[in-house]
Amino acid sequence: MTRDEITTGLAEILEEVAGVSPDDVAEGKSFTDDLDVDSLSMVEVVVAAEEKFGVKIPDNEVQNLKTVGDAVSYIEAQS
């Protein structure tokens, strides 16, 4: 999977879980500051991402995923 494909997949999840417009999702965007994803919605994003991409994202990793790019890199490395 390319980084773009992972980003597109995350955008779909963000739209469903937190109502984020896919147009706003880009690697440099911060989940909390730019996309207004709060801490519990972030958990829903992570759980959905685990199912969608077949990866494991443990609780202690979630706090390190500050931007969409962080998440893309983590998923890319795991898959």
């Binding site: 801490s39 519990l40 958990v43 829903e44 992570v46 759980v47 609780d59 706090q63």
Partner: protein, 314 residues
Amino acid sequence: MSGSRILSLGHYQPSRVVTNDEIAQLVETNDEWIRDRVGIVTRRIAGSETVADMAAAAAEKALADSGLTAADIDLVVVATCTSVDRSPNVACRVAAKLGIDAPAAFDVNTACSGFAYALGTVDHAIRAGASRNALVIGAEKLSEFTDWTDRSTCIIFADGAGAAVVTAAAEGEAPGVGPVVWGSVPERGDAVRIEGWRPYVKQEGQAVFRWATTALAPLALQACERAGVDPADLAAFVPHQANSRIIDGIAKRLNIPQAIIAKDIVESGNTSAASIPLALSKLVERREVPSGAPVLLFGFGGGLTYAGQVVRCP
């Protein structure tokens, strides 16, 4: 012995209603944020009432509605994690206040899952012939264990009590309390804590949210299966009132669009072990669930612990 059933319910809430605007005077937060993100509009905070006072008040109402008297009760079990006194336990204090003579009386502490644990224990005692008529109570005064400068917890927790009178089902009568599905995740004990001397509640919100919204739905469905109840036939789902979004997250995975989803958290906050009997008692009081209808109870919280069962509405 063919099992047990809930005969009646009762609840007690302190008279003081605390709004989100009042909380916003203590910590940096606002009404809209709390409504949207947690689902709480108001909560009740006790004044001088103790856990035992609230437990006894709820139990008195349940007993008054049961057709039984204090003399008929032979077992009192109280679920609580916020009783300040180590002894006597809350169950003995309730028995003393209500004039119940010589009951077996003990407290159960499994934090927010406590009521379902206590109900399971009472059901087992009745099945074993160790009790005929029991009081099972959830009562909490979390305000005494809340750090009112910590906005991650002080917006959530509240005080209150709920109680049920549980009696032996007649021979041949279908049981009204289904088999309990219970357990714990001891290695995750740090996720919700009330530790040490004069402690405050602390929790890892994300870890609890993830566990609750992913691990619990299959266990709740197991409780339905063990009771022989098709989830599609549930009249209501009464989970621990932890957070509106946790309730929605579990309910979504149960796929029970026909069931009433209890949301007493909106007006009562999170009252730990008291939240399930409080919400159930109010549903019954408002006649939202017909008598005999199956209702799924599911508690979860500190420990981490969980327990749930299907009950028939009194």
